[in-house]
């Protein structure tokens, strides 16, 4: 099994130690090299993305609109777009009632939570009380948890309205959202393409403006890769920054709940709402939560070189053979944009980079084989009647799980078996330590690291469905970050050709542990100063207000 996964050489050259090479970007590389002609129709003078959350708050407080009006508008948009996108597995029935409550609060001049009236999509592997939470699996069809996940509870406490549960690859295992037991979600930029995964529903919903922000989960890139594919901002926080309580476990030591938004500011506001220690999750951190929202300055107050002195390391292994040329160009363009903003960009090498992918698939599969043992048909979820205990287990699980999940359970069970543990699980843990060390070294020299979020833009639905190894290889840019437990922000930085209006490309910024603040600050400035792009999918071009 290892031999087939461990050969990412077709993607990346073998790790080599070489000294970081200084390279000036904006002199040699024209900015926005890959700017496709399809963008010609887009308004080049369009303004940078604004925080929808702050706009909603302002409108509500100044009585320009009501939460109910906003909700009705959003539901209408959902009704129009959903038949094409299929981002939601279920939609809440209490949206209007919750909006009315917020209007009541406004009428009584009561204090409003920071997410009051904000439509939030929640990935369906995150538990919501009395709403279906299936994890995208047949085995949990119609399952309704008796409790809210901590992240969901905090969103609700801040006034957020959970609009529905978004589609995903079954239990988060996949990179296309085709692995859902219920439906295939389309990419709003080109409905013949996948939205990425596993949080494809959450990314597509924000991209299609079906909700303002959404929660996803990221075990090996499941927030960042779909953010890149759908042209939205995706944030994977540091492991332990957000409580995992209520997140259906895939790989416990890698899982983290992440945020999607159409702007860096919205993503940061959502993170601020859900971050922090939770006594129900002993792996959640007591590290102080800074005020992520205080730094989103308006464009007018920024100086000409607002990121002066920031050291940025471009991970050279992420630009190697096997990565789409146009994606490389976009990232190089983004690097030069950062230089124009005052950053010093150098290339850094992460020698253990290529080892991360096989190590990730061993660790994640091993943990998932254990975490998914609880779905046995005995206490909840689908049960296949049988007159022997082993048949009850076997049949319930055979019928309840999809092929990808079964494959990973088998791989993980194998890797943990007596006699193989040392060669697989233990070895992978050693690789994990190496990856952590090489990131630490690189982040000692640099404030942030940058790379593409995915080696390619969104590909066609069905393209990699029967080629799991090709799909796994697409996770190369993101899995190392999970192994190291670091925070990473993905934000759209350019377009490549494809689809009716081009396909967005995401830039990944990786920071030191618990340094989300810096990522959000840099990301915000990058986004506000990136002229000439509007990351609104063509689907919405006609008439739907954003």
């Amino acid at each position: 099994m290892l031999s087939t996964v461990q050969n990412p050489r077709f993607l990346l050259r073998q790790c080599r130690h070489f000294p970081p090479k200084r390279r000036r970007f904006h002199s040699s590389t024209p900015l926005f090299l890959s700017q496709p002609q399809t963008l010609a129709s887009t308004d080049l003078s369009s303004s940078p993305p604004q925080s929808q959350i702050l706009t909603i708050r302002d409108n509500l407080l100044n009585r320009r609109t009501t939460a109910v009006e906003l909700a009705q508008l959003a539901l209408t948009r959902l009704r129009i777009t959903e038949p094409q996108i299929h981002s939601f597995i279920s939609v809440s029935e209490t949206v209007l009632r919750e909006a009315e409550e917020i209007d009541g609060k406004i009428a009584r001049n009561e204090e409003l939570g920071p997410l009051a009236g904000v439509f939030v999509g929640v990935k369906d592997n995150i538990c919501t009380a009395d709403m279906p939470s299936t994890g995208g699996s047949r085995i949990l069809e119609n399952y309704r948890p008796p409790f809210d996940a901590t992240a969901v509870k905090r969103v609700k406490d801040c006034g957020g309205i959970v609009v529905g549960k978004t589609n995903l690859d079954e239990f988060g295992m996949g990179s296309t959202t085709e692995g859902s037991a219920f439906q295939v979600t389309a990419n709003p930029w080109d409905v013949s393409r996948v939205p990425g995964g596993s949080s494809g529903g959450s990314a597509a919903a924000v991209s299609a403006r079906q909700c303002v922000v959404s929660l996803g989960s990221d075990t090996g890139g499941s927030v960042r890769q779909p953010a890149s594919f759908c042209g939205v901002v995706g944030l994977k926080p540091t492991y332990g920054r957000v409580s995992r309580f209520g997140l259906m476990a895939y790989a416990s030591s890698l899982d983290v709940i992440g945020c999607f938004g159409s702007s860096v500011a919205d993503t940061g506001i959502l993170l601020h709402a859900i971050a922090g220690y939770d006594r129900l999750d002993s792996t959640s951190s007591k590290h102080e939560v800074p005020n992520y929202t205080s730094q989103f300055m308006s464009i007018s107050s920024l100086e000409s070189k607002p990121l002066k002195g920031l050291r940025v390391g471009l991970i050279r292994e992420t630009l190697d053979d096997g990565v789409d040329k146009a994606v490389v160009s976009s990232i190089v363009g983004a690097a030069s944009h950062l230089e124009e903003l005052g950053c010093t960009v150098t290339e850094v090498s992460l020698p253990s980079f290529s080892l991360g992918l096989p190590a990730y698939y061993i660790l994640a599969s091993s943990e998932s084989s254990s975490n998914l043992s609880r779905y046995d048909g005995v206490r909840y979820g689908s049960q296949v009647g049988a007159d022997r205990l082993n048949s009850l287990y076997g049949d319930s699980r055979a019928k309840g799980f999809g092929p990808e999940v079964k494959m990973r359970i088998l791989m993980g069970t194998y890797a943990l078996s007596a006699g193989y543990y040392d060669a697989y699980y233990k070895r992978a843990q050693q690789v994990r330590t190496l990856v952590q060390k090489s990131f630490k070294a690189a982040l000692n020299e640099n404030d942030i690291l940058i790379s593409p979020a995915a080696p390619s833009p969104a590909y066609s639905i069905g393209e990699k469905k029967n080629d799991p190894l090709a799909m796994y290889a697409g996770d190369i840019m993101t899995v190392n970050v999970n192994l190291a437990g670091l925070p990473a922000l993905v934000l759209p930085c350019g377009f490549v050709e494809g689809g009716p209006a081009g396909l967005p490309v995401g830039l990944q910024m990786i920071g030191a542990a618990f340094d989300e603040e810096k990522l959000l600050k840099v990301g915000h400035i990058f986004e506000q100063m990136l002229k000439g792009y509007k990351f609104i999918p063509p689907l919405l071009a006609d008439g739907i207000a954003c």
Binding site: F245, A249, R279, R374, L389, T413, L416
Partner: protein
């Protein structure tokens, strides 16, 4: 919430052949409850069991068994008496209605995570220290994976390669009636884990129901070295563990409720052979006496097979102790080693103990049974007394408090082991439930010793104190029971009795000296039992013999 879940479980009875129960790879269901109330080894072991079974009645077995030696090792599961379960906030009370002590976490619902109860660590450290073992300052939890309906997560949170404590020993004294003697048995390891739920099988065996009340209750697994050689040694080892956990207050150690469960491994080898024989595991041992009898039966069975040249019939298997038939029977043969696919539990951080923490627990440990026994021995008590008093932590505490109030050691021991123990046994009370306080027992002993009351009256007062409470002084005053020690007063009473019984006096003086007892009785009666017997007899004798 609980009721919803309860319904969820109840409405999903699944079919299960009784044989499936035996397919389980770990643990056993301790649901058979035997009627005997006795929980301590010593009283039960008073009738020594014969090492004889129907198969091995052959003459000369004793002689044969001298050529063999039994090797016994014990795995003990101790349920910790924490207020809440190991990884969630559910309280656990033995005997609650099925599925009433459960929450999403101990039900293993999707998205739930374990959070360690710090008391589990504290109790484990206490037991580790009490067993003289080496604590691992850095240990961790692991997942032990297998499928069974009483295991909600599909894995048990346990400790695999780094137990919280390892290497250690227990010291104990065998009961005098079994020949006595001091023993030290090695402890291999102590680790923390969670208990599983229980299956309730329907009457006709067509389905089973799951009760998850016990799921997630903290356990300590204590593994002994294979140091025991006989049933009584094994039973006493288990009894000492029970004493230890009760002294420490970490468990009620109740075998009938399954709070203390022993799985015993027995093998036999010819004396002089270095390799161990094939080991057999015995389960369903609900009392120390059952342990003793089951092991001795199993030793006989194996020795008999050995001596008949049929040692190949001893196979690695799990046998069940049948209380009715007083024998062990095959429960299941081992089908190769099971692979539990242990790996570190990613939901829980490592367990890191600081030296300070360990020191603070170490200094808070109570006096443990072995130290107590050695101290009592030094006080001059007999081994029988020592074992009796130190057996029960509450009795020992009562005794210590009594002598702490200055009571004579031997007298205090006698009162507790005699009349007080008899009363408790009759009324089925523990020493904490009787009304007598150590203070008053000490007072009583002092009053008798000091002559304020007679021993006879002391006994009467004792039962009053046990049943109703009150103080010795109060009772003496209230009932006017102070002993008459004034010779003049006694003399008056003697004179009166002699005057009233001229006939008997004449007979006495005629040589019928046995009548002294009659006179003494009369005087005692006249004094309402309060006359000091020594003085009374002395004066009486003087008077009787005065004119002869």
């Amino acid at each position: 919430m609980a009721s919803i879940l309860f319904r969820g479980v109840q409405t999903r009875p699944f079919l299960l052949y009784p044989s499936a129960l035996f397919g389980r790879k770990s643990g056993v269901l301790y649901c058979t409850i035997k009627g005997t109330q006795t929980q301590t080894a010593a009283p039960e072991n008073k009738q020594p069991q014969l090492k004889v079974s129907p198969q091995t009645k052959a003459k000369g077995l004793d002689k044969i068994s001298q050529d063999y030696e039994a090797i016994i090792g014990i795995e003990t599961h101790v349920q910790l008496a924490t207020l809440t379960k190991a990884f969630c906030c559910c309280p656990y009370n033995y005997g609650s209605q099925p599925n009433t002590c459960i929450c999403p976490i101990c039900m293993g619902l999707p998205g739930t995570l374990p959070v360690l109860n710090s008391k589990v660590i504290e109790f484990a450290v206490k037991v580790g220290l009490a067993l003289n073992s080496k604590l691992s300052l850095n240990s961790k939890f692991d997942r032990k994976q297998y499928f069974y309906p009483d295991l909600p997560k599909g894995y048990q949170i346990s400790q695999f390669d780094i137990p919280i404590a390892s290497g250690g020993y227990v010291d104990l004294d065998l009961p005098v009636e079994f020949g006595g003697g001091h023993r030290r048995f090695g402890i291999t390891r102590v680790h923390m884990e969670e208990d599983a739920g229980k299956l309730l099988h329907s009457g006709n065996g067509s389905y089973s129901q799951v009760d998850l009340n016990r799921a997630g209750v903290p356990l300590l697994e204590i593994v002994s070295e294979p140091d025991m050689r006989s049933g009584i040694e094994a039973a006493e080892y288990a009894a000492e563990l029970q004493r230890l956990v009760r002294y420490l207050g970490v468990s009620n150690g109740n075998m009938q409720e399954g709070s203390l469960r022993c799985d015993v491994n027995v093998s036999v080898r010819p004396i002089g052979q270095l390799e161990f024989g094939t080991k057999v595991e015995i389960k369903n041992l609900n009392s120390f006496s059952a342990m003793n009898r089951a092991i001795d039966f199993e030793i006989s069975r194996q020795v008999s097979l050995h001596s008949q040249g049929q040692s190949d019939q001893i196979v690695q298997e799990t046998r069940l102790w049948e209380e009715g038939g007083q024998k062990t029977v095959t429960m299941r043969k081992k089908e190769g080693l099971s692979d539990y696919r242990y790996f570190p539990e990613p939901d829980l951080p490592e367990v890191i103990l600081t030296e300070d923490y360990v020191d603070s627990i170490c200094s808070s440990l109570p006096e443990l049974p072995e130290l107590k026994r050695r101290r009592y021995e030094k006080m001059g008590l007999s081994m029988q007394d020592v074992l009796f008093l130190a057996n029960d932590v509450n009795v020992a505490g009562f005794f210590d408090a009594t002598i702490g109030k200055g009571a004579d050691v031997k007298l205090a021991a006698n009162w507790i082991m005699g009349d007080i123990a008899a009363y408790m046994k009759n009324e089925k009370l523990s020493i904490n439930e009787i009304k007598l306080t150590p203070q008053e027992l000490a007072e009583l002993i002092a009053s008798i010793k000091g002559g304020t009351i007679s021993g006879k009256i002391g006994k009467e007062i004792l039962f009053e104190l046990i049943a109703k409470g009150g103080t010795v002084k109060g009772l003496i005053e209230e009932k006017d029971l102070v002993q008459i020690v004034d010779p003049a007063e006694i003399e008056k009473m003697v004179d009166k009795v002699l005057v009233e019984n001229p006939k008997q006096l004449e007979q006495y003086r005629g040589g019928k000296t046995k009548l002294q007892g009659y006179f003494a009785g009369q005087v005692m009666k006249a004094s309402k039992g309060k006359a000091n017997p020594g003085l009374l007899n002395k004066i009486l004798l003087e008077k009787l013999n005065a004119k002869s």
